[in-house]
Symmetry: C2
Subunit: 229 residues, 2 copies
């Protein structure tokens, strides 16, 4: 022991402002990473999520938080970015209309770019295959394919250091996620999950995202701090 | 023969406005695709490339051309997006400073998103492993990894139709690319390759991109239509 501490490894954390990604940031911090949070403004309806992301990043001590604008909303095709498609208020079968085309591919690509500039070798994403099984880009095989890609796409991969993609929530239920974040001191009242939250971040209580979230707090046996309108 | 023609298959073509991607658009059209061109405004210095992309898309009969803004320039780290890093004027060894972090990963992700919305199963990109061997995301193994990812990330992949990533230039020299485009009637005077073109699209003649391009016309034995300042 010479009294010099190793610097913390840097990690890039995709942070939407919702419940899942806030939990991921808490987990990454708990694992000893210096956390760089990144949010995408891809034209989503629920822009209050981005305010929530800023609150969460500050509350959990992220070293930096960047919001990157990205015009995929212009493609249309999703109820989250296309105002002509209604947000569903009951569970649908198959791939939901709230699916944003190639969203996680785009988000991970952005995180990869920032990781390269920072010299970070770890990227965290809050995908979850249990409660969102209709989304093809929330599956473990997608994450593994992105890891392979990242190691071929970048200087770090070429130079042999290796990049890791962490998806710590991938096999957890919503209730387990909420218990994990609560154990790490996360205040879920800072987060916004609702697909159609009002400008103050108050939730509708009726959309799919609100239902999943409320069910999660019930399953966790914990009080729901969500602010409803 | 019942007189009803099959509709042309749709393809999404990444179009920067440079020589390579214009050639790719000409190739895709020649192969019988209905072409949807997409350009990214990622904060690159040479915005005249985007004007060139619009000219090329129109000249080659693209059905649609979208310019998607994407804030990766905010990460810095590249001479193409960071004004504090000088553009090199002679060939460098290793990965050049004009490398944009994760650029082709981000661009292919955007193309994938639009392809999903359009129902296109073919994406074309003008990467080239011969003249740009310092860029890790221009190699055949990167393209193959993205194809694998795309088929795990999307509805088309989940539903088994399959997406293809076409990189027709990947093994061609610059001279071969120029001969191929010229044979297809492409006017390279519409394209801009220079890293620091002036607002009228006139090239500097001294940057790496200008040198490669001029060498390509010499190798092809064809007149160079580039407008220099």
């Amino acid at each position: 022991m010479n009294g010099i501490l190793d610097p913390k490894p840097k990690a890039v954390i995709l942070l939407s402002g919702g419940l899942d990604s806030a939990t991921v940031l808490a987990i990454a911090r708990d694992q000893g990473y210096e956390c760089y949070a990144i949010s995408a403004d891809y034209g989503q309806r629920h822009g209050t999520e981005l305010d929530a992301a800023a609150r969460v990043a500050a509350a959990l001590g992220a070293v930096d938080h960047r919001v990157v604008s990205i015009g995929i909303g212009a493609f249309g095709g999703s109820a989250l970015t296309d105002p002509t498609i209604p947000v569903p208020e009951h569970p649908s079968s198959g791939i939901p209309v709230t699916y944003v085309p190639a969203r996680n591919t785009v988000l991970l690509a952005l995180a990869l770019g920032w990781a390269e500039v920072l010299g970070a070798r770890d990227i965290f994403i809050g995908v979850n295959a249990v409660d969102y099984s209709g989304y093809p880009d929330c599956r473990p095989e997608f994450i593994e394919a992105f890891r392979t890609l990242a190691n071929l796409a970048t200087k770090a991969g070429v130079e042999g250091q290796g990049l890791s993609i962490h998806a710590p929530l991938i096999d957890m239920t919503k209730g387990e996620i909420i218990r994990a974040g609560t154990a790490l001191g996360l205040d879920y009242g800072l987060t916004v999950s609702c697909y159609q939250a009002d400008p103050d971040g108050r939730a509708c209580r009726t959309c799919d995202a609100c239902r999943l979230r409320a069910d999660g707090f019930r399953a966790a046996g914990l009080p729901d701090p969500t602010r409803y309108r």
